[in-house]
Symmetry: C2
Subunit: 175 residues, 2 copies
Amino acid sequence: MVSARAEFADRGYDAATLRGIARRAEVDPALLHHYFNGKAGLFAEVVAIPLDTSAIVKSINDGPTAELGQRVVRTFLSVWESPDGRDRFVALIRSALSNEQAAAALREFLTRELLTKVAARSGVADAELRASLAASHLVGLAIVRYVVMIEPLVHASVDELISLVGPTLQNYLVP
Amino acid sequence: MVSARAEFADRGYDAATLRGIARRAEVDPALLHHYFNGKAGLFAEVVAIPLDTSAIVKSINDGPTAELGQRVVRTFLSVWESPDGRDRFVALIRSALSNEQAAAALREFLTRELLTKVAARSGVADAELRASLAASHLVGLAIVRYVVMIEPLVHASVDELISLVGPTLQNYLVP
């Protein structure tokens, strides 16, 4: 599973191969094919979004409304700052950009599990558009900081980012 | 060139092949290899950032400071709303996420040609970090709206986006 995650993270869904994963894991490709129902099945296992999204939504929504934006940024960065979380999400984003199935997975996850639940909080008419703009900012932040690695964003501290991006998300989510 | 752009946009840098491009263009792959110095050379031609970045920076910087954020969003979306611009940038972003050479190209372009020039305007101490946060929001906006296609962002009008994202970028760029 570690090998598969590394292969998808390095190469994206389309360029990753069972052969490459098998080589990293030092096992027979046929074995992977048999146990995981091919590349798609293995990918589904690897990027399986942790099942505690309700805990994430709870930790975002629990607390003063005035600090909602800050909590969203802190929660988001805490996932990306862990090497395991980073690999998962880099793989997911790369794949979403080159594969419609992965894009649908990311889209559904973001919309159903997070956006509508966080948007429900504010009650303004364009809450869902605002939530999707907040999400787009977070997606871009992750890509620029962890994948494309543009300075000075790469070396900004988590606290700096919370203090700059928190108010931005706050304006989107609780206008 | 149209075929190469389509191949890179559809498959990303790593999965695209000279053979695939040649098939789309109905020419001999050896011809492409000869004239463009292989896949890397062809890619460089395809994603060649239009040479009028100074015109872009000028059109962003010309006008009242109070509307800088709006002008950045309008300029950015005008590129993405044109099918040709969209294909170029989708190819560039996909490739930047799976290929270090393309990531370096995007990084250098954004930093040298746009970020530092727009950041120079505000004069605050963390102007470059703020400019890179603004850029990250735009990158995420493009990905969510044009590639991963999350609603309701896909169907928001350009004017709606300018009115919502403009003030956000304004806060980053001219605090």
